[in-house]
Assembly symmetry: C2
């Protein structure tokens, strides 16, 4: 009944750092007043954080020319984070700082179906090349997004449907062997949600991020925290029954799944049935952008189908925000218009009164940004910071 009051050791260096993570430089006196700790304790805690480099006594590195201000601030450049966002055929590999600012990035063509050996080797080589281009600082950790369900606690893919050879593989162990720092793994759409939340919508306590591409998935922030579900399978929007899904077969073995009627391949197939050449998400987006009426129509209908299912999610979650991203979101307002149409038609006024439905803000970087956020939230947690002290 009371487990939510459990707390780590009060007044540790990690707790002190937690206060500084808002970015505001503070004096010793301010830190003493705000923590209720003894001055001698604050001094010792600050010394430990200065030794780790996580806190700097020269915020911004700028001297005011007068008496030293004696202010202490979080030093986001003291560590680097390795981040990767993997899809079925594409990946984005990046190095960021502790604020999630991208220091170096590279898009890659991969084939997730080549299996973990080939893909992880490729990631490691790319990170090493990117690291050569950024200032040398210690690594805080590695964050990886994968296109399937992941048991977050172990970092192992959990029966991922489009990742042959990856089921149960200890991804963190393999990458740890290369870099010797903590490795965290999660579903890529969960990380998109983390990234959009941290970067663009930190005040949205309840939000859903939808990825519309070859597959359709979602990530869900509840009470400001990512909701991963019991076995990391939450957000599986693509396999909810679409109201107009009918008997359309889905690769999951069911019929009428949203993904089977509104995913990229379904839209392309519908266009081909009308004699229009469309074989990929990029083809569909190009057609819409060129003003092709049939393509615009098909994308808008996909938006309506997605909105039909999201309307149920709006009734259940009551989010304040829905963010639409993924390759097909590049088709622009057509997709969003369809989504909005269905949600507003079907949901109760109370739930939609303050609901915003917007396109992705972080765009292609949402996944790597989320991977970095995941690593930073771990690396800067009080328990982990304290464990690094002598």
């Amino acid at each position: 009944m009371y487990e939510h009051f459990t707390t780590s050791a009060a007044g540790s260096p990690g707790q002190l750092l937690g206060l500084l993570l808002d970015g505001t430089p503070r004096t010793r006196a301010e830190l003493t007043a705000q923590t209720g700790l003894a001055r001698s304790t604050v001094r010792a805690r600050l010394d430990a954080l200065l030794d780790l480099g996580l806190v700097s006594d020269r915020p911004g590195g700028v001297s005011t020319g007068g008496r030293p201000a004696g202010r202490f601030a979080f030093n986001a450049r003291s560590r680097a984070v390795l981040a990767a966002d993997l899809g079925a055929t594409h990946a984005t590999v990046a190095v960021t700082d502790l604020n999630g600012a991208v220091l170096a990035r590279r898009p890659l063509r991969i084939a997730i179906a080549d299996g973990p050996d080939a893909v992880i080797t490729c990631l490691v080589e790319t990170w090493r090349e990117l690291l050569a281009d950024v200032p040398a600082v210690p690594l805080a950790g590695v964050g990886i997004g994968l296109p399937g369900p992941v048991e977050h606690s172990s970092g192992r893919p959990n029966h991922p449907p489009i990742m042959p050879g990856w089921d149960g593989v200890d991804v963190p162990e393999r990458v740890f062997a290369e870099f010797g720092v903590p490795v965290l793994v999660d579903n890529e759409v969960n990380l998109m949600a983390l990234g959009e939340h941290a970067r663009s919508f930190p005040d949205a306590d309840h939000m859903i991020v939808v990825k519309v591409a070859t597959g359709i998935g979602s990530g869900f922030i509840s009470n400001g925290v990512l909701h991963r579900g019991a076995v990391g399978a939450a957000g599986d929007l693509g396999h909810v029954l679409a109201p107009h899904g009918g008997d359309t077969p889905c690769h999951c073995g069911n019929t009428g799944c949203l993904e089977a009627v509104a995913g990229g391949p379904a839209i392309a197939a519908a266009l081909r049935a009308k004699g229009i050449e469309a074989h990929s998400n990029a083809d569909v987006v190009a057609l819409v952008r060129s003003g092709n009426l049939e393509a615009s129509h098909a994308v808008r209908q996909a938006g309506r189908d997605i909105g039909d299912v999201l309307a149920g999610c709006v009734s259940m979650f009551n989010p304040s925000l829905i963010v639409i991203g993924g390759a097909l979101a590049a088709a622009g307002e057509m997709l969003l218009a369809g989504v909005r149409e269905s949600i507003y038609r079907r949901s109760l006024p109370l739930a939609t009164g303050n609901l915003r439905i917007v396109p992705s803000q972080a765009g292609e970087d949402a996944g790597v940004l989320g991977a970095a956020v995941m690593v930073v939230q771990h690396a800067l947690s009080p328990v982990v910071v304290d464990s690094q002290l002598p």
Copy 2:
């Protein structure tokens, strides 16, 4: 990006109490070791908590006859909580201790449509009568569950469809005027979820509690915390489109809502259409219990309809547990069998591999238990405890 590290003043009496809320008695030395605070600080904090009565130095009140153990423990009987769970036509009014143990309770017939003046007067009178029967201790607060959406932060009903006269009413202010202690208000199904979680399933981090009665609603625990949604409207399962909802009109203004095809009145109407006398939830339950085949059939079909919608929730939430309660849950296995049938037919194996679907454990007391939990979580939070110190 870092707001989840924000913490209240470290090492305060409230934080010390947080450690003791697990029920384990601890010595001063243990508390010093586990908090990292100075011995003098622990002594002062304990004195404050002893003065408030929230901590006792005689756990269980039993002397061992030997040297005093010098152990300190949380004292759940030091405060009383007033709790009420209101439905459209019934209420349960109770007094509990700080562990949510019911000290006195009374079921009432009310009419929520009589409006807040009549209903609140009735509640206050009942609480006063119940308080006369329990040991006199200070009140920690009042918790009230209402049958509609509630803006939890203000305690005001938010456009509740079946509560004429209640929209926007400052319920906490009216009750505070009577007892002078904090008053917290929430949707009754949210409180059922809090109650089931705290009492019976504290380890289920992700669970959905469904109430099947005249209306159909749900409460949702995410990461161990109640998910209320942006305006307190989360969990509105009854107005999600049912796959077989068709054109059935719903009182919300839409068609095909789950509540319109599987709520108690819909089941009773379906039975009447077959010439069977059924006018209330109790009639339906009595018919099922008496072995009436048509009634069993209708309830099982309602379970299937509910399961069809819950299957989408399973894909989205990936809960480890679904709890089915409410007046119609008294019909027993027929309802659950229908729910299970649909969920297992429609959901992906990964999401249902460890999913349990069980009847309510707290039964009729789930709501008042949840109301008490809500008050206790507030009253014993470090910030509130610290505010009571001189």
